[in-house]
């Protein structure tokens, strides 16, 4: 039997990324070098944004042997020499399928993430833990070339394919010289210069060069951005060191949101919580309860009402951010249009509580509460659109007198009271309740559902206390509240909890 063996290459890509072009380059390079080469792929709908693969086998012609080798059409576990993945999760999929084995596989993958639909449509954080993939790759690959190729591609103003191809060449695992790869790009004839630049970056990274690191732009400064000594002193004096930075961030947020007085109010609420936390053993638990409260309280107190949205939308630094994001050149005007659709609730929320409630009640009785939304396209880069937003943002001083303000404070007080109360009974439970501070968020329907879920969760705390362990019982409810937009999962979880308690 002949000792010759084919070199097998499996490319995992996402449909529409042009994995076919990459595979085509490799076939050209191998064919150009006079090797036997075969490529297969899965055509059809898999190439409409889903995960797809391209499989290539290459064999150098043994001298004096003209027989055509029998090449595989599909990759087989334990039989892949070069595993290429255009994205980290796809590298994970390759690992899962057994295509990366310690005896022979070189794993070449980009570490950037493109989130799968289940990851990105989760209501909270549904992202797959990338560390799992890195850990598995570390142990399973004979060799690995992992770096953020998307970033490199952007640097070279090209597509990820070119960088991947460069990394394949630079890894020295294919029976081809660098020139063969580059010739394949040239004969492709499309965006040759940019692709060669990307190829070069990939090649050098695979040879061990480190990326041109971003310059550290965080200037070291004594100024904590609070502009108010008394706040700084309070934070330094009354909060444990590990919470101070977070609290400063919270205070800064609230000064920006409303003013120094509001930031003081934040600390007024936070300090007793930290004290109670310390008494309940927080010192040995990294102040887990207080940490959650410190961040969630600041976010909640800076709730997004119309005034806040208008304020954020018209800031000059925002225009600069948008320009950078959409890659507008310096001399290109950019027009920004906002999509606003305020309705009865949003307008009423700006009125004083009594008046606002009356207006909502009126609309409810007339059956038009959710039907009077006015869709507006507001161009904040035009004076006509900027002006009303600017005026709205100037209502900041009025905010504490609004219905929305009153309601949010009431809810925050309830939340804080429930946490304090739970702290007496069960530390972990208190921590979970503190995390639940994030369920009230979003706008319109999402916000309304968040409020409903919030109250259901707070109401369920006594039942959770009866369960064992209480923290896990509450966490189950919280996860349910964050798992579907309709709130069905929470209703089911509540029913289950009450059922269990009744049975116990």
């Amino acid at each position: 039997m002949s000792e010759s063996r084919t070199t097998t290459v499996l490319i995992a890509a996402l449909g529409g990324e042009g994995g076919g072009v990459l595979a085509g380059w490799l076939v050209d390079a191998a064919g150009g070098a006079g090797h036997w080469v075969q490529q297969t792929s899965i055509p059809g709908v898999a190439q409409r944004t889903g995960a797809t693969t391209y499989y290539i086998e290459i064999m150098e012609r043994p001298e004096g042997d003209d027989r055509q080798p029998v090449m595989g059409l599909t990759a087989s576990p334990g039989n892949v020499d070069v595993m290429v993945a255009s994205e980290l999760l796809e590298a994970g999929r390759a690992l899962e399928n057994g295509f990366v084995t310690p005896d022979r596989t070189t794993l070449i993958a980009s570490t950037h993430r493109i989130y799968a639909i289940a990851e990105k449509s989760a209501m909270a954080d549904g992202r797959y833990d990338a560390e799992r993939v890195r850990r598995a790759a570390e142990q399973m690959a004979a060799r690995q070339v992992l770096f953020d190729m998307q970033a490199e591609a952007e640097r070279a103003n090209t597509v990820i394919n070119a960088v991947l191809f460069g990394a394949m060449a630079g890894a020295n695992v294919l029976p081809l010289p660098r020139e063969a790869f580059e010739d394949a790009i040239r004969s492709g004839g499309i965006a040759v210069e940019a692709n060669l630049a990307g190829f070069d970056l990939g090649f050098r990274m695979a040879q061990g060069e480190r990326p041109a690191g971003k310059k550290d732009t965080t200037a070291v400064s004594d100024d904590d951005g609070l502009g108010d000594r008394t706040l700084t002193d309070r934070i330094n004096r009354n909060l444990p060191g590990m919470l101070q930075e977070l609290a400063r961030e919270g205070a800064r947020r609230l000064i920006d949101y409303q003013g120094v007085g509001y930031a003081r109010f934040y600390l007024d609420r936070l300090e007793p919580m930290v004290k109670a936390d310390a008494v309940r053993g927080g010192t040995s638990r990294s102040f887990a309860v207080s940490r959650e409260v410190t961040r969630r309280l600041a976010v909640w107190m800076a709730f997004e009402d119309l005034i806040r949205v208008a304020d954020l939308k018209i800031r000059p630094e925002r225009v600069a951010r948008v320009r950078a994001e959409v890659k507008a050149a310096a001399d290109e005007p950019v027009m920004i249009t906002e999509f606003l659709k305020p309705g009865v609730d949003e307008v009423a929320s700006l009125l004083p509580p009594a008046l606002g409630r009356w207006a909502i009640g009126l609309a409810d009785r007339a059956g038009v509460r959710y039907r009077l939304n006015v869709g507006m396209h507001v161009s904040t880069t035009r004076i006509r659109g900027f002006l009303p937003m600017w005026l709205l943002s100037r209502l900041k001083g009025w905010r504490p007198r609004t219905l929305r303000f009153a309601e949010e404070q009431e809810r925050i007080d309830r939340w804080l009271a429930v946490i304090s109360d739970a702290l007496e009974a069960d530390y972990d439970l208190a921590r979970e309740i503190a995390v639940a501070g994030k369920v009230v968020r979003g706008y319109s329907d999402t916000h309304r559902r968040g409020i409903r879920n919030f109250h259901l969760l707070m109401d369920a705390v006594p039942a959770c206390k009866a369960a064992r362990p209480p923290a896990r019982a509450f966490r189950t409810l919280l996860d349910a509240a964050l798992s579907d937009p309709e709130g069905d999962a929470l209703d089911r979880a509540l029913a289950a909890l009450h059922g269990e308690n009744a049975a116990a």
Binding site: V27, P43, G72, S76, G92, G98, S121, D256, K438
Partner: protein, 723 residues
Amino acid sequence: MAERSFKKEVELLRLGDGDTFEGEGILAVTKALLQSGVSYVGGYQGAPVSHLMDVLNDARPIMHELGVHVETCASEAGAAAMLGASVNYPVRGAATWKSTVGTNVASDALSNLASAGVTGGAMIVIGEDYGEGSSIIQERSHAFAMKSQIWLLDPRPNLPSIVKMVEQGFELSEASSTPVMLELRIRACHVHGRFATKDNRRGTFSGQNRIADPSFDYGRICLPPATYVQEKDKIERRWPAAVNFIRDHDMNEVFHGSADDVGIVCQGGMYNAVIRALQQVGLADAFGESAIPIYCLNVTYPLVPSEVTAFCASKRAVLMVEEGQPAYLEEAVNAILRKSDVQTRVMGKGLLPTAGEYTGEAVLHGVARFVEGAVPKGVDLAPVLQRYQQIVDAKAKAVRLLGEPIPTRPPGFCTGCPERPVFSAMKLAEQKVGKFHVSADIGCHTFSTLPPFNIGNTVLGYGLGLASSTGIGPNMDRRVVSVMGDGGFWHNGLTSGVANAVFNDDDGVLVIMNNGYTSATGHQAIPSSVKGGGIRSGAFQPDGQDIERALRGVGVKWIRHVRTYSVSKVIGTLRDAMTTKRGGLKVIIADGECQLARQRRIRPEVSAKVKAGNRVVRTRFGVDEDVCTGDHSCIRLSGCPSLSVKPTSDPLRDDPVAHVNNDCVGCGLCGEVSHAAVLCPSFFKADIVRNPGRLDRWRQGLRDRVISRLSRSSDATRQENAA
């Protein structure tokens, strides 16, 4: 203007004696058809043979030179019926489609064709869409071959074998008066390789050498008593003729090996996988030299009993590697051996999976277990099993290290797809009129059944969206909404769905996706396609094969056009259709050109304009991170690949925020959805003016001055607040 152009590659079809072809499987098949002297070809697109249709279309000039007619058929039934040309006349022809679904559609014509028998060679190139990446129900075309007695070729998946089978297939067809099917698995269609070419042959008769007089033979008509005679002829003459031809021309292959007390019988298409599995456990080399003998069935129907018994007689056991179920071959081999009193054990299903694709992994498992059980002579089992165990252990270890399954990544609507907004609208309309039953169809729009939409209760076949609502419609509280693509509409939906619904006075709602092409298969043209791209949308079209004209022609009264991206309008139109007092069929034509096709069309135009210094406005959407609260409602109403999430840069928050990446084509759905759903104000639209004119600059300057004045006063207030 199909998604993929073969304009350059079709030049390979001109290669002649002594040349070497290098390229893709489907192109090689086309070359083989020309080398076989076909006079007509046609088919209907569908993966994995969509590109065969593209090749045929792009090769029209070459085909014309040879007098070969190319027909873009309306459906697989039409394509199969086209093979009727070979019934009476010595003309060779070929048709192609996706199987088994296309074969289902074609089966009426196929039965008649097979019964009548052929004079000229007739070949059906079927793309067997089975296993990984398949978008259809999992069945075997083998059953069709058996029931109609059409010979089934399953060549080894390399170009020389495929080309040889095409050429011999025509001879077999003529020698046995029977049509043949060439089965190409999904990967074989796109396998890249090379073969030595021959000159193209002109057909006896063709467009350039036409038939003078028609021939009539009652024996060729499918009507009693001729049909009875035809059935007998199949059994008594055609079948034995085929078996003899296959044997005499060595269409099946035997590969000898040293361990000849056992053997492997495989379908031709499985041969490479078998060799690879043997190679992985050290029992074969890269050139296919195997220790275990292999009988490779390049023709899987009919079997040649004498060959089967000759291969098996001296062996204790054979492994039958047969992909798909039912296990027709395994049963047939067993029957042949028992009838000839050969006692060789036949293993197959059980060692190998009963159902599902025979991936490299599946065949490796099967072969390893077969070797372990059968203990071939002269084979040292220990290293074989050790190698196998290593592979199994490594995979298990990787799974253990990952600890959690990798999330699936199903296909979905492309960035900016015009069909997505229709389903966003349906999701929102549900909140207004209540949940309704959706009778879905085949096409890109079937992705609506996947997350995040999960819309569509049944899928019954191409163009059958409306037809599949007729039973459930009258039994539902609310009107049923059916979906149909423009491709399915022309394929059969116009008659099976629309005309039928009008005829029966069915009360329902039909949404027709008018995107201009059969998009899922790669943008092949359909009757309502517009030359040069784009779609006919909106108002009544005075001429051309227009959807609305067709609808009116069959008596539909309630017709509305709506631009798909106008989500609020789509919702309103759906609500009207759902609630109107008028009975009968309500049709909404959802206009929106396939964005992939559109981008391919306009990108060069735009970049030419930019280059020429003309003013061009580029639109993109974005999300303000500090306004986004991270609940991802927008993603659940869109699922656009360019709308994703990114880690928040806010140290006070933890959940990732929505983010629009640079693939955004500015279709406008994000803005429409935030309006229609009253979602959230974090989306913005940015219009970037390239090559701005003087007016642009002046206006921008003025705005910047005024706005920065006002902003400064806001900044001052913020400072005061802070002080």
